[in-house]
Symmetry: C2
Subunit: 239 residues, 2 copies
């Protein structure tokens, strides 16, 4: 990034609001990932936070409304405002991005690809546990890229997946309780017992519930990886 000529720094688009607290968390991580000593060295960012995007899990697993039109609207707003590229601060929404990209031609960095690339490079990782929404798991987006990276994906049992969803909806409702944290720690422990060498916090709400010290094996935070990737990409585009 060229801190001497800030006017030339690329505009980073963030499609967020799914949910809002996860977007706050992602933006915090992006700020923390940016090497600078004052306001002016930080990235120019536009956040389109539309929490009214229909529930991704409901859309994939059954009878929910299709979130694609609102996601495409957001991507279009980012494009029209001059974003150089964009990211989506919601793993589950990535299941709908192929359709969005047919409608809006704007470069983007995928949180799924960035994560799979990172995990695939860790020499000790043969199997990776995935804690994610029903949307992300049903769409198979992580399973597919992990397999391509030579890593076997492990997902929670149906009962555990139910607890994962309860915890995620609790964050969205601002009603997170100790039992949700404990439940998610147990889900991560069971994934590790099943052979997971790492656990992927594959929903942007998960890092708000489960901390690395509560997980028996390394907890991979895709939001941190995406933040780092955004900083690198912006620096590359500013050159």
């Amino acid at each position: 990034m060229n801190c001497q000529s800030p006017a030339t720094t690329p505009l980073v688009g963030i499609l967020g609001g799914m949910g809002p607290a996860a977007t706050v968390d992602f933006y915090s991580k992006l700020i923390a990932a940016t090497p600078t000593s004052g306001d002016q060295g930080h990235l120019r960012v536009m956040i389109w936070a539309d929490p009214t995007v229909p529930d991704r899990s409901a859309a994939i697993t059954g009878d929910g409304e299709d979130p694609t039109p609102k996601l495409a609207e957001g991507a279009r707003k980012l494009d029209e405002a001059g974003a150089s590229f964009y990211v989506v601060a919601c793993n589950g929404a990535h299941a709908f991005l192929p359709s969005v990209r047919e409608q809006v031609d704007l470069d983007y960095l995928s949180i799924i690809d960035v994560t799979a690339e990172h995990v695939g490079r860790l020499p000790y990782v043969k199997k990776a546990g995935i804690i994610a929404t029903d949307a992300t798991l049903s769409a198979g987006i992580y399973q597919k890229v992990l397999l391509s990276a030579g890593v076997e994906p492990l997902v929670p049992s149906s009962a555990d997946q139910h607890r994962v969803m309860e915890s995620i909806y609790a964050v969205k409702a601002n009603e997170l309780r100790t039992e949700h944290r404990r439940g998610l720690a147990e889900v991560s422990a069971r994934l590790c017992e099943s052979g997971a060498d790492v656990v992927i916090a594959a929903c942007t709400e998960i890092p708000l519930i489960l901390s690395p010290r509560e997980c028996p094996r390394p907890l991979v935070d895709p939001a941190v990886l995406l933040a780092n990737a955004v900083v690198s990409e912006a620096a590359y585009r500013a050159e």
Copy 2:
């Protein structure tokens, strides 16, 4: 806010990035202020976070570049994207808003007005201490509205103001240390010794440094007041 017809909820514009961490804090407070039990009841928000807006204090107190063009660019982006109204998550930037408003005709809620109105209604408040940037104090924006509300404004001594600025720049540089927190607590104590019945955290970075328990008298957080005002305004516009 009409949670049944989320498509009709107004788009709230936030002009931020001054600095980025303060914008994260403001958006967190907006989320916390929103009464809802899931993503879809939260406000549709667009955040234009341009940290390359020239330093507001340098511009007002001396030889710094004028931030008005970049502030106007941000306001225009919010307007073009369809914002119903906007707020600026930076107190000091409000000194430049009259010029911005001449260029961009979009409704806005002022953090200064919202705060003065609140403080003016507190029956026990005769004097209010102001902890703010050089920009905010030199422009006199809080002093003017507080006097109109019947409240006498108190500002730190020159030496204390220097410590305030050091603390604020430390937040912006992600280099906040215990001495900054202690220094700001002492500044707030001296304002109270001088007769302040409340202390206004009149820079969006201050709540990241000074907590209410470190201030001898009630610490007023304009960001929280603005968040509440945004929720009310959005509900009013959605009806």
